[in-house]
C-alpha cells in the first residue's frame, strides 16, 4: 500500500474476511512472540491513503462491529466490493 502511494497512485483498500482482524483495537501479540503491526496503520493517513473500507459481512460473521476497530472505516457490502474491483485498473490481493 505504502509503495503504491509513494508512486502517487489512487488507491482504495478493502479489508475483508480474516483481513478484518488486522484493524482490531487493543492488539497485543507479545505473549505469542509475533510483531504487532497495528501501530503502523496511522502511516496510511500520512501517505494520503484515505479510501479504506471494510467488508461488512466479514465483520458480522466474526461477531465484530465497527466499534471494535482501531479507527473509523467505511463499511461496504459485497456488491460494492465487486464494483470497486471493476472500476480499478489493477487489483492486488494480499
Amino acid at each position: 500500500m505504502l509503495t503504491t502511494a509513494a508512486f502517487e497512485q489512487d488507491i482504495s483498500v478493502i479489508f475483508m474476511e480474516d483481513g478484518v482482524y488486522q484493524l482490531l483495537k487493543n492488539q497485543n501479540s507479545e505473549e505469542i512472540g509475533l510483531k504487532n503491526i497495528s501501530p503502523a496503520f496511522p502511516a496510511l493517513d500520512i501517505y494520503d491513503i484515505k479510501k479504506i473500507m471494510i467488508e461488512q459481512s466479514s465483520l458480522t460473521i466474526r461477531g465484530l462491529s465497527l466499534d471494535d476497530l482501531l479507527f473509523s472505516v467505511e463499511a461496504v457490502d459485497a456488491v460494492k466490493v465487486a464494483q470497486l474491483m471493476e472500476d480499478a485498473d489493477q487489483v492486488f490481493n494480499f
Binding site: T3, T4, A6, F7, Q9, F92
Partner: protein
C-alpha cells in the same frame, strides 16, 4: 500486449510456479512481450541455485533460469521475501554475514517498487499463487 507476471508460490508446493512458467512461455510464443516477472513471498524459492528435484520431474528453478536467459527477461525477486526465506545474492550474503550465496544469476533483487512499476507499465499483470 505487454504482460508482467507475479509469482507468489514456491516450486512444487502448489502448481502456481509451474503454471506461471507455462504462461510465461505462452506469452512469448504468442508474440507478446514480458515486461517483468516479479517473484514475491514464497515465489522467491523459484530463484534458488540449490534445488535438486528428482530426475524424472520438471526442474522448475532450472526451467525459469533457461527461459529468463534465453529471452533476456527482467526477473526480480523481492528483497524482503528473499532475506526472510534465505535466498541471497552475494551482496546480501556479505551484508548479513551468511555462509552461502544461492540466488541464480539470472535474477536480480529489488523492492516492491518494481512490482508497482510493472503494474503501471504493463497492459496486463497476471498473478500466480495468491
Amino acid at each position: 500486449m505487454k504482460f508482467s507476471i507475479v509469482v507468489y508460490g514456491a516450486p512444487y508446493s502448489s502448481e502456481a510456479a509451474s503454471t506461471a512458467l507455462n504462461f510465461a512461455k505462452a506469452v512469448l510464443a504468442n508474440g507478446h512481450t514480458l515486461y517483468r516477472i516479479f517473484f514475491f513471498q514464497d515465489g522467491v524459492h523459484n530463484a534458488t541455485t540449490l534445488s535438486v528435484p528428482p530426475q524424472d520431474e520438471q526442474h522448475i528453478p532450472e526451467d525459469w533460469k533457461m527461459l529468463i536467459a534465453k529471452h533476456g527477461i527482467d526477473a526480480v525477486i523481492c528483497v524482503a521475501s528473499g532475506l526472510k526465506r534465505g535466498i541471497l545474492d552475494q551482496g546480501e550474503s556479505r551484508r548479513y554475514n551468511r555462509q552461502a550465496v544461492n540466488l541464480s544469476s539470472e535474477f536480480s533483487i529489488s523492492g516492491l517498487g518494481q512490482l508497482v512499476d510493472a503494474s503501471l507499465k504493463s497492459d496486463r499483470l497476471i498473478n500466480f499463487g495468491v
